[in-house]
Symmetry: D2
Subunit: 295 residues, 4 copies
């Protein structure tokens, strides 16, 4: 049984999040096939340490992502993998003080040795030192600079394909901490708002727009709000989130809520699949890629 | 890409619930291949209206379930489908008063017209009328009687394969309400505890035991507690649940907690996958069946 | 600041589950003050080991519960406390194999030594031995018998106040396992359906009805379905649950869904508060009792 | 019954999140009473539209917050309330297209009319126009400038008390969109990293540190990571979150995980309460303030 056959069977069963996943696959296929649609991709959470980076790189490579918005955490771990360090499989049921003594950092059941951060520091400081002194740079410019120095991964693929990567809260990550270290003795200004004009121009000029939102957080909000100032809105939206709506946070908010704001259009097609994206993202992408490869 | 290849890829990514699902597949395969192991299956929630009944029937047919414990809701909807009525795909975002006026009953995004319950009532009353008057019967006996009168579905397959179906809270379902109706003019005693001796005998005599628990509720607890009075415990346990542990309910409890009670053995292999079983159950079963079919 | 003042302030803030809690308090007060309304109380989960038993006993004592539906787990732990055993505060982050060796059973962060179950067994066997030989008994009859032998707690208070306690899945608990033990050498038939006539009669004859549902599970479904066969429905419903609707299970289902079935009336007032009932139940009850005591 | 008495009773019951809340109150009291401890406060989600802003302002006023980290959404709504606009109580079960036609923006069950954003735009553009032309400013500097122009609320109180407010992802909010509008015709550079030196200096120099984390998101991560580059770590940490750990996101991560990284010290006291902060935050703060006022 192929993955697409399984997803189609979930659509026939048709209920709860299995049914939603099948609808999401239909919608994501439609969005990818719509040549007029600009495709946004939001990557929240800590998906790269969980091994989801390859899917994102592949989607960029295949031309399925036009604008990527990510947390700093995902980009930190993308770089860590690109420079040859590895995440290990561990367990969430452990003694964190012992891990601390063993110099292992834990992300739920993913383990990352401290030495990865030492390699990371060396790479980042060298990379930052190649920025033009006394210059002013945007966050996406900083990330493209890093991507031009890595040989694989999301930032590398995005840089090669000239896909902008936005990361509004870049300070809130190891990338940011390394930049702070660099900035103590160097003067390059990272302009927090320098990415806005190009993004807003794009949002004003899109014919149609679609978004795949993996998790919530800053990436989801930043993507959805980008249409707020324009007469446009997203025409397609697929959301894979583990959060719940009743807590009032944007991460778990329904996409219908986004309709009241005009972030998505009144008649936008929108599907939310609740669940862990380490399951729903591979399922969705494998099913849709199977369809794309068969015409 | 086949489903098993996807699940193996999730195992390589290795984290969060995607990683857990891959481990669950390995463990469920091992459990099914262990000829010494008695296989329990717990079916909570409202999985049958969501189209999951076929998977359960197929597993019984293939000899992969030795003991089934279910909620009454699942069995009610199994009968409804077996007698030719259908569940429809709707939406959870609707006006329930209008549905009421349209005589449609809603289970999240599954719609069931009232007329299905009329057909159900006729079938159930006829079926109950064929019970021996003034007799005493166990709940599994009552369910086997029903299964002998249906032509497809879980109860039918279980009856044909002589697999006991336990449903401790049978009163708590439409099956129960129909029985109450029948009992107003008939006298058959359903003995609440009549199933216990056979189940306990089996638990005392198993060489090894494994459980696949879909959701929590009564089925999970009833299966796990069945080992409490014996010197045995479950050797394998796979749990697919959407609940969370910190609320203290058994439905979201970790399987490690079951270790403290001796419900699973000290060195039992146990994996929990958090998420909606309408996604995780088809994924798990399709992957493992693919392996079983290839030797 | 009194608890009621806090809840009123949450109502003024007015959003998410804090706002819902304030609405729930208003509705529960209205329901308790409605002398025509029969009051149902559903107690799911494992609330008694978490110290919530006293609140339930107090509500029964004060005449605020007319019909109680519980899981067997809650009643098991109610008896355990009533016969002088204690639950201990532990941690959920522990080694369950070590707990097993120390003969401690864990419920999330509640610890119960095995010796409590020894005391429990002695008490239960003695209590069951006082049942009339060869008789037939309902589940609520069995529970009232136990309540007549304890000196405090939910079953005791309910027995004293002649409030029926229904527990459809009584087999699915330590009470049930003890009964199985007893039944190996004794013959008392517990009739699974013997409680239905009195409950259904009551449901047919109520003028108005209200329900406070703590958690979901069998208690919630059994209470709500009790109106299904009648022309009536619940006029008031307050639900405190930690589950979520999108998984399709009844435990997390909205009360609006119940409207489509006619379990609650078309114009019933209904409020759901999502969250852990060890927080929301004491808050709700303390606020409403404060109001009741002031007229 | 006072709120503190209720929280103490939850501590006596002692289990699940009710027990955790009582422990959190004890710990937060200890942290506030520790004169050596620098107090961080993380405010994620959309807490201000839910009426939680007053609690935060009061804590700043009382000297209980030394460093505040917030999402842009909370600050946007803080400004909206400070300039006289109001959030309304609505329902989450509504037609969002109709809301769109009525020019009402929805945040779960909070409604905000579009006209509030018109007033907001006028205020923000005027406020930004008073920035020194061609200057370079930090995000906290920008927010302090806004706070100096409002007459109430979080930003106002923080500005008056000279408490820094950090908002790493300020672009990701209506404040950010307004700034983009302003920046089209004005040149003030908001330096994304200008806040780091003062924050890092503070983290290097603290004797002890404590954090109250409301929700996860950028505020939680930014606060916890601030200690990563220092030999210090948080000595106290209280987390109120509705997320769950198994999804791997930081928002639901246990505080023990933070121990492996050294974000909190090996022997830090740390408590997580899972649930909606519109319930847990008022409960926690009311109980602890009651204690502080009685010596």
């Amino acid at each position: 049984m192929t993955v697409n056959e399984l997803v189609k069977a979930m659509g026939k069963a048709g209920a709860y999040n299995g049914g939603a996943l099948a609808k999401a696959a239909d919608l994501y296929e439609k969005m990818l096939r719509d040549k007029q649609a600009t495709k946004f991709f939001g990557l929240a959470g800590a998906m790269v340490p969980a091994g989801m980076g390859g899917i994102v790189s592949d989607l960029i490579e295949a031309g399925h992502i036009d604008v990527l918005v990510s947390t700093g955490a995902n980009l930190t771990h993308d770089i860590i993998e690109a420079i040859g360090c590895r995440h290990f499989h561990g367990t969430a049921f452990c003694n964190d003080v012992e891990l601390r003594h063993d110099e292992i950092n834990r992300i739920y059941d993913v383990y990352l040795p401290n030495e990865a951060f030492e390699t990371f520091e060396a790479f980042m400081q060298k990379t930052f030192s190649e920025l033009e002194p006394e210059s002013r740079i945007s966050i996406s410019g900083l990330l493209a600079h890093i991507g031009s120095r890595t040989k694989s991964g999301i930032l590398h693929t995005a840089a090669r394909k000239k896909i902008p990567v936005y990361c509004p809260a870049v300070q809130d990550s190891m990338v940011g901490l390394q930049y702070w270290l660099f900035s103590q003795t160097n003067h390059v200004t990272v302009d927090a708002f320098a990415d806005m004009p190009a993004l807003m121009d794009r949002c004003f000029s899109v014919k149609k727009a679609g978004a795949l939102l993996v998790g919530g957080g800053v990436p989801k909000n930043f993507i959805l709000q980008s249409m707020l100032m324009t007469p446009n809105g997203f025409d397609y939206a697929v959301q894979l989130t583990g959060d719940r709506p009743d807590l009032g946070g944007l991460s778990g908010a329904t996409l219908d809520e986004a309709r009241s704001w005009g972030k998505i259009t009144e008649d936008a097609q929108a599907v939310t699949v609740y669940g862990d994206a380490t399951i729903t993202l591979p399922l969705l992408v494998a099913a849709v890629m199977e369809r794309m490869h068969h015409g």
